[in-house]
Amino acid sequence: MNMTAIISIKNLSKSYAGNKAVDGLNLEIQKGEFYGFLGPNGAGKTTTIRMITGILQGDEGEIAIDGGSVHDKKHVSRLLGVVPESRGFYEWMTASEYLYFFANLYSVPKKNQEKLVTALLSEVDLLKRKNSTIGTYSRGMKQRLGLARALINDPKILILDEPTLGLDPQGQLMMQQLLKKLSSAGVTIFLSSHLLDEVSRLCSRIGILHRGRLIVEGTVDELKQKTGMKDLTEVFLHLTST
């Protein structure tokens, strides 16, 4: 593994109405890494992700994305692909119109757009429904379309906030296969999920956030060794039950 930090977070904090959602977080994600970001509800995962993507301002601390500041919008939007927690879509658009719209926003050259949109729709298995309006899509189809949108700029880093939430087993499997493929292609992936089994199978390194603090970090084996538990679910419950 190339040990160069592509995401570097130093002493990051964020409070909501006096309550610390993220408290002095330090984190380094290496280039090409598949990082699992775990934590119970309200631990500060989504807040952290929103600060990494520049959508939310932190109160303290620094975030660097591939050496550049998170506040440099052009730099960040060129490097990042994001499947955010909020999954609003323009329901009146068709899937292909939606991707063309974002291709334009990301200044993808016109001559490449058709090929790119077709490839992405095929990748997420929506090519047959490309002319249906998004309003007619199931939740799983929308999640896949969200992933296609996140890949429109050929990102070096992919950040996903609960991408398999609410998907049926087939949908989860398809999403996991796609993420594996992207990871093998060298994309750095930062995955926040509640599905511990999914995380332990996919991620090369895991961090557990609890009450805004990163309480443990390492590979699944390292976490098991540190805590003396036999699987990730036990590790998670053991560390976050207090």
């Binding site: 909020s86 879509f89 323009y90 658009m93 990301y106 200044s107």
Partner: protein, 256 residues
């Protein structure tokens, strides 16, 4: 970049039943106004210039009302339907975003203006007022609408809620409209005259009166009405710039 936002709005907002309904309602109101002005016994006794002035008031009034209502949701919908995050994750800047939305709102005003032209031509038949009337409706209406859209966008960025923006926008519109429809005899004291000179809607109606009734059609003869309108637009732009600054400080997702 803003053109992509504008095109998206045109497709998603303008070519919808909602906008078509606005245009239909506008058209019906213009029809009823023209019909009453031309056929009603008392109203048809009005001088043609007075009649045109009343029609002008209706056109501008309908335009301002429709655009205020439409502009109240054009930005806030992106937050309420959770589409803002994906837009702002892309390279689109807040300025591009607001500019695209502004053009979309002005496009709806332009559509209302186009719908009003046949009514203006019919009501101006036999007079030489049709062209100055159309030109001044375009100028005064666009300045008025621009000012209100900028104001409503600023409110949208402060509240990020359609309901609150619509309520506040309508209160401001009604607050400014009510003194504007008072007759000039009620505006004899100093305070009323100051309010009248500062009120953008009052200035629009006074300029129309100047053009249609007094036939003072040059811009030089209307500068005293146009300058306050420009100042209103600049003040609204200043407020929008402040709202955008606040918005960027708070982030796309507001800390709550």
């Amino acid at each position: 970049m803003f053109t992509h936002i504008w095109h998206k709005e045109i497709r998603g907002e303008l070519y919808t039943w909602k906008s078509m309904l606005w245009l239909l309602i506008s058209s019906l109101l213009f029809s009823v106004t023209c019909y009453l002005l031309l056929t009603n016994k008392e109203l048809s006794l009005l001088d043609q210039t007075e009649l045109l002035w009343l029609l002008g008031k209706v056109i501008i009034g309908v335009g301002l009302l429709v655009i205020t209502v439409d502009a109240s949701s054009i930005i806030t919908t992106e937050f309420e339907k959770e589409t803002a995050e994906s837009i702002f994750l892309s390279p689109v800047s807040l300025t591009d975003f607001v500019l695209g939305k502004l053009l979309a709102a002005l496009t709806l005003w332009f559509a209302i203006f186009i719908v009003s032209i046949p009514y203006i031509i019919v009501a101006s038949a036999g007079s030489h007022l049709a062209i100055p009337f159309i030109a001044y409706i375009a100028l005064l209406g666009t300045l008025g609408v621009l000012g209100f859209v900028l104001l409503v966008f600023a409110i949208s960025l402060f509240f990020r809620s359609s309901k609150n923006t619509l309520t506040t926008g309508l209160i401001i519109l009604l607050g400014l409209s009510i003194p504007a429809v008072f007759s000039s005899t009620l505006k004899n004291d100093v305070v009323s005259q100051i309010i009248s000179h500062a009120n953008p809607i009052d200035n629009i109606f006074s300029s129309l009166d100047n053009v249609l009734v007094d036939y003072k059609v040059s811009l030089l003869e209307n500068w005293q009405f146009i300058v306050p309108l420009v100042v209103f637009c600049l003040l609204a732009l200043g407020l929008l710039a402040f709202a955008m600054y606040q918005f960027q400080k708070q982030g796309v997702i507001r800390s709550e």
